[in-house]
Amino acid sequence: MLEHALKGNKKYWSWLLFLSFIILVGFYFYLKQLSYGLGITGMNRNVSWGLYIGQFTFMVGVAASAVMVVLPYYLHNFKEFAKVTILGEFLAISAVIMSISFVTVDIGKPFRIMNMFLYPTFHSLMFWDVICLFGYLILNIVITRVTLGAEHKSVKPPKWIRPIIILSIPWAISIHTVTAFLISGLSGRSFWLTAIMAPRFLAGAFASGPALLVILCIIVKKLTNYNVGNKAIEKLGVIITYAMCVNVFFVLMEIFTTLYSGVPGDVSHLQYLYFGLQGKAVLTPWIWGSVVFSVASLALLIVPKTRNNHKVLFITCIMVFLAIWVEKGIALIVTGFIPNPFGQVFQYSPTLPETLIVLSIWALGFFLITIFYNIALSVRGEVKV
């Protein structure tokens, strides 16, 4: 089955070559980071987590969102998702591998990573997050391998795979919940100290993940003759609409609670993010961009006419994806550190090497998706070689 990865046309190979080039550039800068230290990034004593951890948080969400196709298809027997489910599962695998890569590049002493298993620490949520992520990765690899393998041999998948698929549903929720707990349980960071962090993460994930899936499905349809079907796309559109509504609702709830209660330490973070503090406002244009995209995409999603138009939906999905990428992949993590525990504003901007390392992990993700989708589509005989 895996041999299908090695079959492809010129376009396929040149796309993979292009991605490999970006990965290699990033790898070069990662080697530089290893020798110079994380000082090569824009992170500092005050903002000690940046783009790496932000991207990690965001990608865990994308990985978890596979549940939005797995659940209707396997649990509710929603047949329209027959063709899209495998794409969702492969997207999850790529996203988990990206998440693990983002954490790895953020570690100061990567060669000591095994200390986490030599001295397992149950009161640290970092430990549980690693367990959740690796578990989810293994679950999805097994599920895709077995279901697609059965399809490849034109037989029914074995019965034992069903409980594993069912298990992957709560497991998907767990990876994003534990990732939220990672930051929402810290007494000293009031910006993160909120009970709706995990629900908010999930809402954002269930909007941004399916949005990326719709984008991929439309691209796949253009490049090959594999069509997941209009009904599937439209259903995903509905899922994105609900999730995006809930996501924006949660953000507004946070803003209300913080501003109405008016606790100075809590307000200062929001003030920095949306308006700037002490004359410093690096994140402000980004978050307003996110606000504009959120509002515009919501309008386009709620109106059925624009939601069911695939051309418009494609643009809408890009807006949803970018809006949440800024909100969760950048703003959420960085703003937690600004102002610092002394009430002072020290800002953070990623450096060029840091950005290139992040880009290379994205390239790795697309590399994996390309290969996986090629395998899946070849098995289903939709790609003519």
């Binding site: 570690i107 990573i113 001295y119 000293g188």
Partner: protein, 263 residues
Amino acid sequence: MSIDRRKFLKIAGFSAVGVAASKLVDVYAKGSKFISKTASSAFNRTKTKSATQVELAMVVDLRKCKEGCTKCIEACNHTHNVPDFGESKDEVKWIWKEPYENAFLDQENFYMKNEFENKNFPVLCNHCKNPPCVEVCPTQATFVRPNGIVAMDWHRCIGCRYCMAACPYGSRSFNWRDPRPFIKDPNPDYPTRDIGVVEKCTFCDDRIAQGLEPVCVDVCPEKALVFGDLNDPKSEVRKLLKDNFSIRRKPGLGTNPKVYYLV
């Protein structure tokens, strides 16, 4: 890194002298006025619950601390090989000074006594009784010693910086780059750190093991810093806390900091 014979002998010699010296100091420690025998044995990582548990704490008398004086900071930086990068981005700090309104962010008061306005006060790791950093560390590289000190194992730390996110006091620093070239006057008796690990004030746990006081306490010309056992009713810290009004940084978080400030 290659080690030639000369260098090896030098290091071996240093180590031998170091061990001998610490043995000598141990003997001296027995007669030390503030560190009891239990404190020294409590230094060990093994949990031996003794009837008299030691709870080491510091009292900072803000009224005595002199503006412009940085003796404690300099002594600490030298003793612990704290690098000076000359810029704030990669900064490593163990003890430093902050204005009152920054150090006591949630205890802002208007129309303060003149002596507190526009004045900077020393801040350091609070060695919390419920330390959030220890709670979150995935490798137990930061841990609580039986004498209450929140210590660090720089050989185990993986550099994930979760502790820095968890610390409500901004007391932790990361080695964003190689600190060694930036140590102005290296102290051969104390280890230097490597790229990629977190560090912070250790309440001079190595000096305490030798029966000495923390170096910042030792050098303060105003005697504004006092160190001792919180569980000993006769200790100087207990006396000071009883006779004066004290505050702590962010007490509402439940971390139970053990650095007290007299106002």
